[in-house]
Point group: C2
DNA sequence: AACTGTATTGCAAATTATGCAACACTGCAA
DNA sequence: TTGCAGTGTTGCATAATTTGCAATACAGTT
């Protein structure tokens, strides 16, 4: 006996019309017919007397109607009570993430969390995505939005948020680099800009090694994907970054994606905290907000 | 949110042990784990704090526990109330069925019905199964347990009970008939005993016509499948009857089934009443008892 | 380090729910 | 009497969900 079924029955009891009630609940009349039949089976009594012309509540149906309204009301009271208790939660939450994630993935999660916990103060530190796990480990922050490394230490709890494609990008402006990629594409001659370390860099190294194209011509290593995009846009070289960083960059029109260079494994982006932290009320509440948000997608 | 899920949660809240509670409810621990997770998703709050060693109720879990117990109690009160009202139902119910059905199919249905409606008086008329629909149509009875004819008139409501195989039977005693069927099996020479009319007879006629074996040597036609079985047992001929009649006959050891003579369509046995009668409280109650019984099988 | 017991999860299989389309049916109009 | 309109039901194929096996993760104990 689902709450959804109870809501349908309550509305049917008021309208006494299968078609209209079905439409109200965005189901087909045949579905509503079966929902009612299942309720009747579970209860062991007919709830309605009906044929193709008339629908009336039976005596059992009248009692069940009251029961159903009561359940739905108690459910709402329970949720109100729980949400109010949650709203009472106070304190400060330290979050670390990249600039891009601060634009792309954090806002809806924060909105959901703050809806439920308006009294909790958020302190956000942004920086290089590759530093995220270290920040968590040092307990400089409560949790971070981070890319999952190949081998995640067992001291962390990781909750998946999104799968992020990684791409190789080049400048769109006319420059030596662009000429190089449009003519003879010799990888070992093209200046490459890499992150200092982190999942994107590891992917590039792995990918380049697979290509077996000699030594990479590393022009620069930068701290932070966003800076990397800027350098590529300026014509300094080609680079490898998560797509979402490009999409959220003010210079996204000045870079282009290089396609057809084989598969680069996407990044598993998620929320990451220490195992020992996950039972802390604030962190637990945040994880619940994430799950609640994700189950509504 | 199913009542079953609530019951599981309530027991889990008491035992704080997934394995034991799963066993109590005859499900696997993985199922229980998921049931709880679905409740948590639906509620938007964690109900338990747990790892592989400890399970404790969260604050939300404590409130939900009270909510769940309340729902289950109210559900029981509702059912008690409805069943008590049903028990108040009085009157007389006239039922017609064959002798065999009176032994084979009616008892559990009557038991279920009388559990729920002890004050209702039952009047049972037994007779030839082929007369069942006529008795209903004449309103000599309220309903009958009958075989569904090929074309059921639209004035009847029919509720399926069982699918009854139909068989050809012969005597086991040493006699002329048995010698005939063991030697040259010439159908047109074997004495055949048929019901006067009804679904079994129609099936035989259809089946024999398909066999294209000349004119049937009809030795006798009898009123009632039970009498037919007796005559076959006495060596008077072979006959065609629903298997269940044989199974409930005192002379069942004196007849044998003739196999490998092609498919005979089984009988669709059910409860049958007039459309205009089905909303009568007593008849409606009986149909509800049937459905309740059937859903417990 | 190995073991034990417990809760969780990937995944294939089983089960249930859904909606389309057809059906059954009744009241009404022609 | 026939045809139509509107309504609720049902067979069945498909989609969605649930279940349990087996593997996994993990913490406490030895």
């Amino acid at each position: 006996m689902e709450l959804k079924s109870l809501r349908m029955f309550v509305d049917l009891a008021k309208s006494l019309h299968f078609g209209k009630t079905a439409e109200l609940h965005h189901v087909s009349p045949s579905t509503l017919s079966r929902v009612v039949q299942r309720l009747e089976l579970e209860l062991g009594h007919a709830l309605l007397h009906r044929d193709n012309r008339t629908v009336v509540l039976s005596e059992a149906g009248k009692q069940f109607y009251q029961f159903a309204e009561q359940q739905l009301e108690q459910w709402q009271l329970l949720q109100l009570s729980l949400n109010q208790k949650q709203a009472e939660l106070q304190g400060k939450l330290h979050i670390y993430c990249s600039v891009t994630a601060a634009y792309s993935h954090l806002p809806p999660l924060l909105e959901r969390f703050r809806q439920q916990h308006p009294l909790v103060e958020i302190m956000l530190t942004t920086g290089d995505a590759a530093d995220a796990l270290e920040q968590v480990e040092k307990q400089a922050v409560d949790f971070a939005i981070a890319a999952k490394p190949e081998q995640l230490s067992r001291i962390f709890t990781f909750h998946h948020l999104a799968t992020i494609p990684v791409s190789i990008i080049a400048p769109t402006m006319v420059c030596q680099v662009q000429q190089q990629i449009q003519q003879d594409f010799i990888w070992s001659e093209i200046p490459i800009i890499l992150p200092e370390y982190g999942p994107a860099r590891k992917r590039f190294e792995y990918w380049f090694r697979k290509k077996q194209q000699g030594k990479a011509n590393i022009y620069a290593t930068v701290s932070g994907h966003e800076a990397l995009v800027s350098m590529v846009a300026l014509g300094c070289g080609v680079g490898i970054v998560p797509r979402v960083v490009v999409e959220n960059s003010p210079v996204k029109d000045r870079v282009q994606y290089l396609e057809n260079f084989g598969e680069i494994e996407p990044i598993d982006l998620g929320v990451c905290c220490l195992n020992q932290s996950k039972d802390k009320p604030l962190i637990q509440a945040f994880f619940e907000a994430i799950k609640s948000y994700q189950s509504d997608q």
